[in-house]
Symmetry: C2
Subunit: 141 residues, 2 copies
DNA sequence: CTCTTAATGAAAAGGTTTTTCAGTAAAGAT
DNA sequence: ATCTTTACTGAAAAACCTTTTCATTAAGAG
């Protein structure tokens, strides 16, 4: 039983074959995957898997903070395995490989300045970085 | 002729009644508007306006950096009038009133640290803050 | 093994955004 | 003011993405 499956079980959820197939695909993903892409890859393991179950499993894994949802310019949402704690995603705009980073200090300072200037109280944020990974820099430069 | 209309004309675009209606709504917006909301408000000025033209005008205004697109948790995109330069949006999660802020210094420092740690070259980012505006803090606290 | 009910998949619905295309009107030329 | 060109428009349809519904299945406790 993987760590993710233990977390599911701990939350009172059943460990089913469809969920295992989705988890197997997501756990090793190094780029954000769309629900449709997850379906196609996971169906090689569990042929009967349906797209609805992919969406339901993604919602479940998101609630457990096992995956992170990233916003794409085209309006779709991709999903990545998430380390524990509050992290953000940096995504290669060429090969889409993603890494996580913590922006805690700089972001906290920024948020305090903005709060002081605007009078707003900030309690959440959305931060994603986009660029070229080392590999794609070589191929392009 | 408004400033926005001058920018459109300068880009070689025609100033039409549908576009004027969309612009009139967006120019004075203080919260992100959905295309459907823009349609409804703009139709009080130009009855025949269609949703397709709202989308087309939003793309046009985005390209000219006259409006900024904000990402909503529900997956839709709202649109706000945008000041010149690179700004970000801070949105009240209660009344949705939005203000802009510049995150230049803190964000630049953060990005340099992330570049050094990951080897990625960062060339774009997505940052939005969410919280309570002063008005809604009073009503809630 | 039996039982309960959470979970599943197919189909349908819901919602947003884009494409198509025939008709319209903006704006430069006459 | 009228003509001409063609960018622009709106209705309809298509293309997507995501959620809801509901009859069926199977996980896992007892
Ligand atoms: Mn988004
Ligand atoms: Mn953060
Ligand atoms: Zn790359
Ligand atoms: Zn507010």
């Amino acid at each position: 039983m993987t760590e993710w499956e233990q977390r599911l079980a701990g939350a009172g959820c059943r460990i089913t074959a469809p969920r295992r197939a989705v988890i197997a695909v997501l756990m090793n993903a190094d780029a954000p995957l769309l629900p449709q892409e997850i379906l196609e890859q996971a169906q090689t393991v569990h042929r009967k898997l349906g797209l609805v179950t992919v969406y339901r499993t993604l919602n479940l894994l998101s609630e457990l903070s096992l995956v992170r949802r990233v916003h794409r310019e085209d309006g779709c949402h991709g999903y990545l395995p998430a380390s524990a704690g509050h992290r953000h995603a940096l995504i290669c705009r060429n090969c889409h490989r993603a890494v996580e980073f913590t922006g805690h200090n700089d972001l906290h300072a920024l948020i305090e300045r903005v709060e002081a200037r605007t009078g707003y109280r900030v309690d959440d944020h959305l931060l994603q970085l986009l660029g070229l990974c080392p590999h794609c820099q070589e191929r392009e430069g």
